[in-house]
């Protein structure tokens, strides 16, 4: 059996890749994909912990989180489509009407 640590390191790496993507990428679609990677890294955590703890609620949580991630992508893509229609671009640097 693969040790638990391997899973945790994998998920931590995926999470960091996601955070890096959100912070550095300027294209909205890249950002959306990075957020998806973060959410999926959490699912790995849940399933791994669930298997090693012998408790099913983690897998239930993973299923819920997959469903919510799907809903989030749907609304996210709709918002980016709207953004493209109004601003003609999804490059986040070029969209800055609201500034403090």
């Amino acid at each position: 059996m693969i040790p638990l640590n391997y899973y945790l390191v994998l998920s931590a790496m995926l999470f960091c890749i996601g955070v890096y993507g959100v912070l550095t990428k300027k294209n909205a679609i890249y950002v959306l994909m990075s957020i998806e990677i973060m959410l999926n890294s959490v699912n790995i955590n849940f399933v791994a912990f669930s298997t090693y703890n012998g408790d099913m609620s983690g897998q239930v949580f993973a299923l819920f989180s997959i469903a919510l991630a799907a809903a989030e992508v749907a609304i996210g893509l709709a918002i980016f489509l709207l953004l493209y229609k109004r601003h003609g671009t999804v490059e986040l640097n070029n969209i800055r009407i609201l500034r403090w």
Binding site: L8, S11, F15, G18, V22, A28, V31, L32, I35, M38, L39, S41, V42, N45, F46, A48, F49, S50, N53, D55, S57, G58, V60, F61, F64, S65, L68, A71, E72, I75, G76, A78, I79, F80, L82, L83, K85, R86, H87, L92, I95, R96, I97, L98, R99, W100
Partner: protein, 488 residues
Amino acid sequence: MNYLILLPQIILVAIAMLIPAIDLYFKDKTRILPYLAAGALGVSLLILSIFTGIIPLEIFDVTIPTSLFGGMLVVDRFALFLQLLFGMVTFFVVMASSSYIKQYDRNQGEYYSLLLIATVGMMTVAMANDLITLFIGLEVASISSYALTGFRKNSKKSAEAAMKYFIIGALSSSIVLYGISLFYGLTGTTDLAQFGTQLQNIDPSQDGLLAMATIFLIAGFSFKVAAAPFHMWAPDVYQGAPTTITTFLAAASKKMGFAALFKVFLFGLIAFKADWAIAFGVMAALTMTVGNLAALKQEDLKRMLAYSSIAQAGYIMMALAIATQYALGGALFHILTHAFMKTGAFIIVAMLSVMLIGSKVGDLRGLRIKSPITAFCMAIMMLSLAGIPPLAGFASKFVLFSSAIDAGGWLIWLAVVAVINSAISLYYYARVLKEMYVLPTDHIPIRMKEPLAMLIPVVLTTAAVIIVGLYPEPFIDAAMDAARALIP
């Protein structure tokens, strides 16, 4: 198990499903949809008040607290208090929307439907006793709010605000979820009630992981409540969103974040108070200072109120640093009064844009003649937000700050920072009063007609602010009862 206690939520979901269908069949939508949504909210508010005993009728056979679905949801005084608050704010927002959302606006069915669903999501957070239900409630409310923020489809600002809100919201959700997954790994459970006991007997070698999980949860939830240093999105989103939705975000959505924070930290992790209280103390002080200082130089009313909202979030966050029953009661009381004040203030801003007056602070000039009643209500809201007695904002701030003094130690300094901040905030609130009442106008203003559907919620919230200020005891008692359910 008694599912009757979920009746308010069931009604809201049923009507939320019905509204888009009705939307297809009726030509004159502004006539029917808001009334349907407001009716559903009114009925569920009535049922909630019967549950809490505000209306002394014994129609429903329910006990409080009730535990549902194997402890996933618990309806106690805390849940009922917040549910009433969320329902009330949405009720006012729906009323104001009936004149803010115009006949030619498309997708009105979705607008009211999403508002109701977001409210149910918030109510779920208030009831949640398990991290699964807590997270689902949080997401249901957030996802609906992203869509609502982008409702004005032909507005560039609205699209930009929706994009910012979505990216920040999704990022914070995944951070919260990662924290939850680490907690699940440490404790083997997602049940908040078992957290304390499970965490007591973890291996000391895993303390680092516990600290990391806590930091993830604090950071994620702080994004949701727009606490500094995670607040940068709030002014942009509040400014760009349709003003009725801004009302909803400031008065209800932010409170949902606090409900989640209270549930997780003051209920689940209260045994580890010593480890996280200081973090919240520093964040509370930072949040109120940043919010108040940034509000000083804002010219746009919505942006100014957004920063004031951030500052108020700092005051509420003090309760997490103090972490006593008294402080939680004070925070819940402040959440209530702040919901009244922000609902009133933002609906006034929405009203000004409907009356084509504009949303800059300078546009308020001459409002005392254009619309004396609006000017008066705005003045009451501003004074209350600044914490001038005998208004509601003073009463709730008093309870909250005195709970910090009561706790003693370094928390006294937190109270001092909060009091200094209140003094600073008076400057920009008074500026609004000055524009309305003191400064001369360059041309003679004429009396304007206010939209009635917006005037009613404004007058009601103003009345509530005055009544709570003059006669705070029953409201404080209700808040303390709610706090007792969480911290015995």
